[in-house]
Amino acid sequence: MIFKELILKDFLSFKGLNRITFPNVSESKSSLVLVLAANNSGKTNIIRALRFLLYGDFLGHYKDPYKLINDGTLNEAKSNIEAWVQATLIDNNKPLTFRRRIQAIKVGNNYKVISNNSLDKIIHGPKGDKYETDGGRIERNLRWLVPEGLFDYFYFQGEELGRQLMEGSGKMSIEKGLSMLLHKDDWKRAIENVTAVRGKFAQDLMNLVSSNKEYQRILQSSETFKLKEKQCKDDLEKALSEKKQTERAFSDISDKIIELSKGGPSQALAELLKKRQNEWRVNSREIDNLDGRICKVTGDSKGIPFLAAAFDTAKEVLEKMQAENLLPADITEGFVERLLKRQKCICGRSLHPVADRNECKHVEEYRDRSLSADVNAGLLALLNSLETSAKHGYKKRITDIAKLLSELTVRRQQCIVKQHDLNQEIQDIEQQLSDPIFGEITKLVQKQRELSNRRLEIRNKIQGLERAMQEIKRIVADHEEKLRKLARDSDISKIKDLTQYKDYAQKIEELINASLKMLQRSFHETMQESVKEYYDRVVTDGTRAYIDPDSLLPAIMSPQGEVRKNIGGGQLQLLVLSHIISLCQLRRVLHEQLSEIGVGVGKLDDQSFFLDSIFAPADDVYAKDVANFLHGKARQVLLLLASQQWHDSVRNAIEPYVDKAYQFLYHTANPKRTEEEYIVKFKNKDIPLLKLIADNNKGNHCAYSIIKEIK
């Protein structure tokens, strides 16, 4: 339903004649009309006026419908008062203008409604407009164009529609509206009626053959088995559908597991492993470094620390040895042994000839010196010439060396302990990484296992049902053969005819039933694919759009595969808009395809959308996405926005696509905010949304709005 014009006269908050003209757009293009209004200036009244126009809804004023007339107009009226809402639609490329009005007269201080709810068609002619009271045709057409259950769907306030869609509630169930819009209701009625006709054929047949007891017995038995066959077929359909859903869920979880194993927690663990392995390498280098330093200190000490304890004894021994002309190399047994052993440090550590080149050099130097007769002689000379103070100097050096060696050894020990801990931790991480039953993956695997068991159960059930079906079909065919023979024998041509009619009715009933199920599956697949296409690529929390296979209502699926309906804010707005757009596209495809097979549905492809306050509950993150999303998705969109929602990100996203803009100029003597706060920017111009009027001491009840085009 595409609007050309909408006019409101003295209706609710709108005083006088207020008009919104929609831009002409071709079928393949889309148009966006923006309405900017202050809070409480009657934005939602546009949508309420439309509900009044389409369905004659008194918007809660059933006892006193005159309240639909503007307060100011009522106060100023002297006798007759009239308010109306008029629209011009494009119906089959021709304009269709209609008006619903309400008339009242003033009686004393009260008002009496003299005509309400009447819908007139307006015929434009050269001599002026003619009014033709609708006999029900336009009313029916309007209800068909926009089923009342789907009114909120096309002309909606963001949050309210979100709630209805998620709960499947609404004034008239939204699920019922969807069923109507997609013609499912018509097909269900067709099945019911064909079943009734088949029943009538069966009854007539029964009456005819009542005299033939055998025929009757077989016929009754045949009917019973046919019912069983139908039941069995339905159960089989359900089981197959459940199998498909289970397989889809199984496949989704498999994808998720693959996705998780690519990144997420295992990636964090891999990074930790890398870090610990680096630490292990650094620590290992530190141990090598300390080893080198210990060797160097030992080498540089020239054996002094080993002689410290034997300082005085050595002097005595060396003096004795010198007297006896012996070498002093056997001061301690272990020391001498280590000293003589090649490729070993004097501390006992094995030395690598290449890796420990420098250390080897120091140790060799030490060996050469400590084992040389010159050094021993020199040492003896040194010892002989030592004064007490000199002895202290050596002792200090010895203490320093011992202290340094001790520090280096302690640090080496610490490094070795750390190395051990790191080894342990690295082993643990490697174990976790190689373990498939881990964290989130474990849960998913568990769920997958449950699904696998369920799949097996369903498969067994299907096999059982298929076997039962085959058996029932065999019995039914057997019965029919017997019935044919009996009918031939009794030569009752009427029985033959009725049997054939009944069979035809059954075939048609089954065909419509199967076609409806097929359509339902196509609707679901198409909606699921389309909503996902719009929703999944915008959201950032890993959720996916989910469409219920039966009701076609939307929900979301968490990364763990749980279906959730408790969402809000911008995410909900996005899901709702995706659902609306997808449904309209589905309807268009359906109409094209039903027309191709010869099922008449009329051409009702296009739909206008009036969206009221869709950014109010939206998160800032999503506001821009929602704004961007709107462009080009529907042929006609009217966007009603409060000044507070017209913030920079929304303005930048929407402004370039606005084809026409209107403002509600709110007339009041008692504004709730300062005049500056009623100014909005549009295309770099300041647009005032407030006009102060003189206070008539009657409070705020005579405040009103007028609609003005922003040029």
Partner: protein
């Protein structure tokens, strides 16, 4: 949205021609676009008539 053909068309095309025709006639009798819908009694009568005609045509 991909403008793929619903499987319905393929499914229907596999049915005998007289059943296809009867199917379309019966479904069209229920199409909501009709501005002057039939009463329940009239509707059942029309369905019965269509079924009888289709069955007779097959015999002929």
């Amino acid at each position: 949205m991909k403008n793929e053909k619903f499987k319905l068309q393929t499914f229907l095309s596999k049915q005998p021609q007289n059943i296809q025709n009867l199917f379309i006639k019966v479904v069209n009798l229920h199409a909501a676009y009709q501005m002057n819908p039939l009463s329940k009694k009239e509707l059942l009568g029309r369905i019965r008539n269509e079924i009888e005609q289709a069955a007779k045509k097959e015999v002929d």
